[in-house]
Symmetry: C4
Subunit: 271 residues, 4 copies
């Protein structure tokens, strides 16, 4: 086992003690870096602790840089990693502070902070650690065509409802333009309801009521889609054992004998 292979095991896998430790440390550093970005955006903290935050961010950037280089070195197909989703995320979450050195200046300060915020994407790494997520992912993926068709028709309805509200309420009640009215319609339809814009005229309130009731009945649809998908998945998940004797396939996961002919289901595994 070469040092490269060892490094690969530590960085990319989590079976060994060292690999597990590396992942946990990385996770903590990512969380710290996220907290730093958050604190940096709070005006009060920024003014008082700016220097300390700046130093801390440089330490993290160096850590991320080393990690990135090690990742590229220890993998066989470096290109595949670099252009993978996580490769790009890793790169984008490392680079901001370096760029801030080149394009420095008093005026560009704000935009530099914006770039630094990209480190937020680093949190996506956390998704790696989840295993249970896959099944949810499958259910979402399968119900996506249905849900997006549904969401599309919601948008169409929002467009029409938005223009009607624009005509009914008009600019004097906050519905200053059709895009803004559509924004209001979606705020209403999704039951968010900020209240920054709201109907004032009786007719407007009546139409709003209709939109709300519609939205209330309609929220059932994506839920129904995902529920059905989940139920289907559950059913398919249960039936993984086929009886060698009679071919019956609807057995419980924990079943040891065929529910139809009493033939042992384990024999198929034993042999």
């Amino acid at each position: 086992m070469t040092w490269k292979e060892k490094l690969h095991e530590v960085i990319y896998e989590a079976d060994t003690k060292a690999g597990k430790l590396f992942d946990v440390v990385l996770l903590i550093v990512i969380l710290i870096s996220l907290v730093l970005v958050m604190l940096d955006s709070v005006g009060y903290i920024y003014e008082v602790y700016h220097d300390w935050l700046y130093i801390a961010e440089w330490i993290i950037t160096v850590f991320f840089t080393i990690e990135y280089i090690l990742r590229v070195i220890s993998i066989k197909q470096a290109k595949k990693y670099i252009f993978s989703f996580y490769g790009i995320v890793d790169f984008l979450s490392t680079i901001p502070l370096y760029i801030s050195l080149i394009f420095a200046g008093s005026g560009a300060l704000l935009s530099i902070r914006a770039l630094r915020l990209l480190r937020v994407f680093r949190i996506l790494k956390l998704a790696r650690l989840s295993g249970e997520g896959e099944r949810i992912g499958t259910a979402i993926k399968r119900s996506l065509p249905k849900i997006s068709t549904f969401l599309f028709s919601v948008i169409v309805v929002s467009f029409i409802a938005g223009t009607i509200m624009y005509l009914v309420e008009g600019p004097e009640h906050g519905y200053t333009s059709i895009p803004r009215s559509i924004y209001w319609t979606i705020v209403t339809f999704t039951t968010v309801g900020y209240g920054d814009i709201h109907p004032v005229t009786p007719l407007g309130q009546f139409i709003a009521t209709l939109i709300m009731i519609m939205g209330y009945g309609v929220i059932a649809v994506p839920t129904g889609i995902v529920s059905a998908e989940m139920v289907k998945q559950d059913r398919q998940h249960q039936n993984t054992q086929v009886c060698f004797n009679c071919g019956e396939s609807t057995h419980d996961n924990s079943a040891k004998f065929c529910s139809k002919c009493g033939y042992s289901l384990n024999r198929s595994h034993e042999k």
Copy 2:
């Protein structure tokens, strides 16, 4: 194949290259026209770019006019198209600008813009392009009687709750009339919650709390209805066994004999 048939194929179908191209172009033009209507309603843009928007709208109107005429010409049963849902939508989305020429005047300007907004309905054409939507449609259609019964009782409850709140809170806290109180109740029940009207007295807040908790428990009902419908649809969809004798296709997975004519379903596999 006459030119009429060719035209029909291009306009109404999407199998050939030309047909596909036509649909895509139409889709883009519809989207552009929607963006124009939206931009036109933004005060700032209206003032500066009004002339350009006016010209662009005329170009689109001419395009839609030609499309409409071709549709009428190329179909055999012109009447059926004209009075179909899409025929009416196509007509209504073409005509506004022409009407604005006849009923012109400084005072009628606003109402003309209102008519122009009807072009929004053109977006409904997009629904044509969806195929997945049908299954959702079926599930919604089947659960509609149940959901509308449910929504009706929600409205009845809203009426009673609205009048109670009108009595409890009264006009001095924004509940100026029963219709307005009902509006508030539905805003609350559907969990939209603008906050333009909200209970102020302790008793009012207590009743509001009850309404909210009820609404929270009650939102489960339409969702449950659609979910059950979707699960049912999934189950029926799984039944892929078609009877060789009578062609019946809605059999249970475990069925051995046709549920319609009693013919063995297995024979079709054995032979």
Copy 3:
């Protein structure tokens, strides 16, 4: 058939032409009376059309009085009707205007209007006309013990969360008392979110975030309960035919032959 029986048929049943007509007329009168109550509460309309509304209400009250008397007369067990839910509702929706005559006076005007509002309950009669509602009712009734247990624990959590928020935010940010904080918690938990009270301190906003995410995950529970109940109901609804030959009971409603042995299912009905 005596005149009492005839009257009973017209008033209580909807099989004959006269019975149907009576129900439809009653429905329309109820709706008109509701609209009148609503209009009466709108300040502007009240001032201008008060006299007309007053006369209209008297006409409806007389109509309801006659209807109530006929209902009592035409039924055999008058007591049973009078003390039934609809009997009480009918009585309460008839009486307010009469009471306003006895307890008249300039100061009592408002309370009289309040009594009149009870006529709103008359709308509950509409529920009679619905048939589809029963199945939803069954599903709700069956899931009620589960849902109320669930809602109870939501209230317990709201109580604790409310007191925590009262301590964190305090009276200076609108959380003036624990009951008010609980009101806020339920407004948040049920995702209504008026915004009349909202957290201001960072810690309060953090706790609010936790409550919201919890509420977001938790809304799934009542929905899941009702969905499961609906799915169960659907499944049970399908299995109404038992094969006389082999006893198989999981047949589709439309099945004519047993799916297990091919025996005709109709024979059981024929004989």
Copy 4:
């Protein structure tokens, strides 16, 4: 039966008349104590009735103290009770007033009231009285890993969306820091929508619209998870066939042989 055993039966069980009475009395006292805590927090009531509330709280505290001591005495494994969840809750809901005697003073008054609020936890005892809750609990527990994975990715998305909104809207529109923007994102995503912070710029409103639609589609996921779990539970619950040979009870309705030992399930019915 010693007096200890008798006491145990009265306090811990609800089979006998005395035991039932004790539980009901305890429940009422808990509810009264909660009402007292709530009333005490209302400024107006506090000023007028403070003395009476103070006395009432002492009476309840003494009652709780006696109850706690009896509980400890009457159980065999006192340690197990003391360090159980309810043991700690019982202790914490008894102690606050005693502590307020030791750490008294004009400045510490408020913090003392805070401690007193811990008595709220006493309400958790009510959960004991519920039986139906268990099945819901099981369904929630089983769907917890899926739901928490899901909620975690919601938080990740909220983090990214929050920082984007912070950059787009900026401090001048209320998005004063990233934590605050994340707070707004979760308020939006969970469809609470207070409206204390809301997007003002067109771009911000557009992004908000996307977040809302996403949240609308995404709320389906936890619901789907719980629904599927509930349906599964229902299905397993239907399996009422118990194997005579090994006692396994989780069989499918159509099962003919035990899934654990292969023993015929029908024999139990035949004989």
